[in-house]
Symmetry: C2
Subunit: 412 residues, 2 copies
């Protein structure tokens, strides 16, 4: 069977992941915030690993680690492979880092096989994906397409540290940011492998899956104001119960996510005032998070939902205000890159499952530079952003073989 493997690539992947998991800002758990000491140490370790596999490497002015393998045609548009090495607080070791390590494993395997790619290959380890320290998000990958906003340098973390100062302390260079910008003509595509962070591959019993799109996201805060009253003395028909109204809206949110394919809609926060066992709620604040791989579908879903909210509020005589605070568009995957990945998945005997990415990734920012595609790897229980985050050796191996096969196809 050609699909059998001695797990060599998987073991190499796990070993590199183990190496990078050593770098943490907290000795008790894995925490690697953007521009922290642990981020610097992990970036330097990544740099060494890149050099060991034969990449011409450097840490860029924003802290991203970039390694380049020359191709037969040095000026041909390059293929980018990567993800990020920053983490949330108390993180797992796979989120982001897996996509960086797999780039290195694939380059190493190509070189061991004596393959010289037709075009250059760049492996990149971004540094600001998790939005866990500064208010910035994807800033290091947005710099690749020239979309870094200089005001981001003035943003502060929760301790008041300014990004610009922390970047200098890290060894970065605010003056060099503009120079990170790449020429779109010089890049043929970006491939990112990432843990799924959801339960679909596990449920389908598949090691990997093909990302069909990265969902767009709408977020909003809603406030329902009714009238407080004595829970014993106000008859049901005379109430304007803010919580009963909100409960109906929460049910509508769940229904809105469920009746469309590939959409999700969530109320994650609900706060009730005054909040006493014998007082009819006067005010409820709740949040909405609605996502879809298609922006038209998402906007339609949100519009329908707000209409439904308005109807509920009018019927119940409560006041409704909705304040949207995020409208992030969906990111399409490149059909050519996705086709190559799908062929590789099939050729390794895995049924190709297409699934939307509910979470954002560096690929969102990279889509402003070049075509992008993503491969998801099954993770235990769909859990991420948690020490319990886990993939199997076999799945890591399969992901490496799929990526190697796809890259060989692209650079042959």
């Amino acid at each position: 069977m050609t699909n059998r493997s001695d797990l060599t690539l998987g073991r190499r992947t796990m070993a590199m992941l183990d190496e990078l998991a050593r770098y943490s800002d907290d000795p008790q758990r894995l925490t690697r915030l953007y521009l922290s000491k642990a981020h610097r140490a992990a970036a330097e370790a990544t740099l060494r690993m890149m050099q060991e596999v034969g990449l011409d490497s450097h840490i860029d002015p924003l802290g991203s680690v970039v390694g380049r393998l020359a191709g037969k045609a040095p000026q041909a548009p390059a293929l980018l492979i990567g993800s990020h090495i920053d983490s949330v607080i108390d993180a797992g070791r796979y989120d982001g880092t897996l996509g960086v390590v797999l780039g290195l494993v694939v380059v190493e395997a190509l070189r061991e096989a004596g393959i010289v790619p037709t075009c250059p290959i760049e492996v990149v380890a971004f540094g600001d994906e998790e939005n866990a320290r500064f208010p910035t998000n994807l800033s290091t990958s947005y710099a690749f397409s020239g979309n870094y906003k200089t005001e981001w340098l003035e943003s502060a973390d929760e301790h008041g540290a300014i990004l610009r100062d922390e970047l200098v302390r890290f060894g970065g260079n605010p003056g060099g940011i503009a120079g990170i910008k790449r020429d779109p003509a010089a890049y043929r595509g970006y491939i990112e492998v990432h843990i799924e962070q959801g339960p679909q591959l596990e449920a389908a019993e598949l090691p990997v899956g093909l990302v069909s799109a990265i969902n767009g996201v709408t977020r909003a805060r809603a406030t329902v104001i009714g009238e407080a009253g004595h829970a014993g003395t106000v008859p049901m028909a005379m109430r304007r119960d803010a919580l009963a109204a909100a409960a109906e809206m929460i049910a509508a949110v769940e229904r809105a996510g469920a009746i469309r394919s590939d959409t999700v809609a969530t109320v994650g926060v609900t706060k009730v005032q005054p909040g006493a066992v014998n007082v009819i709620p006067a005010r409820v604040d709740f949040t909405l998070d609605a996502r879809a791989p298609d922006d038209t579908v998402r906007h339609g879903m949100v519009t329908d939902l707000l209409d439904e909210f308005t109807g509920i509020a009018q019927r119940r005589g409560v006041t409704l205000t909705v304040e949207p605070f995020m409208d992030s568009p969906a990111t399409a995957m490149d059909k050519t890159l996705l086709g190559v990945l799908e062929n590789s998945v099939r050729s390794l005997g895995v049924a190709p499952l297409h699934l939307a990415s509910g979470a954002g990734h560096d690929a969102v920012a990279m889509a402003a530079l070049c075509p992008v595609a993503m491969l998801f790897v099954r993770c235990k229980g769909g859990i991420s952003h948690n020490p319990a985050e886990s993939i199997t050796l076999e799945d890591g191996d399969m992901a490496a073989r799929v990526l190697l096969d796809a890259v060989r196809t692209l650079v042959s």
Copy 2:
């Protein structure tokens, strides 16, 4: 028209309410907690007012103020009229005090008319109705039927002050509590006039209403445990969203209260964990408050509701625990006393509206001693426990005339 009034009784009522509103623990707002300095001052003022209208009066060992008017037959069972003079923090001036003052106004009117009642009349101002300081509730009225529990003396307020010590400081006498107990044969009934604390009389444009029963109350805490997850990556069909489940239960509570007549059901508290915009809720804690004038109806409502909760939890794969923490029975009103009050209401040209009392009152405790009945007075906006609590001069006058008419009927 015999129903016209020169508002003499109303003006007298309002003047007495003004006098008692002067006694507050807080100069900025009306707060008169059980056994506080303001309670002592208000009790002494009530004692003086009782003496002025000709009652043989004293402050009892628990701080209740009691005044007695002898009847033609000194040993005939007495008629009790009363309510309480303690208040919540930042209270209105009518809750409780109105029922005490109206007893005095009626006695004064009887004496001015030269009427000697056939039986004794007792007016009582209880002191521990609001449950606003100690965990005790209705302790001063429960003492009348010998139901005072001595362990209540050891309960503490939020500052750690012990009821027994505060009672002694007030001038009360823990050793005298047993002596407060009345002989049921010596009392023919207890009539309590109280503001409605709800909107029904205002909606019906009626000054007063007849209490059909005091609702029994069930209270419970419910906990729904589902599974946290990423709001973007877990498909709707694979979620175990604790908030979506709780929202369905909250809707069921509202429906349960609405589909039965005279019942109310309320969720006043809802707490969501972990409570982030992009995280599917893992746990929701909420409260249930269900009331009905009939205990069988109430127990049936709660049983049906818990069955419905269980069905929702099973269908959604979430865990449900429900912990009841109150089951307070309904208090029936005495048909004879209620009939007399209804005749008085009719004779004064007011349509008799019967309404259940959703809130508890001293009448609940007094029902263990003798027949009880209550008359409700319209209050502005249904608001109570608030400085905005308000009744009109005209409604106060009507309440006084109804009570005077009923008492005349009973003691003639």
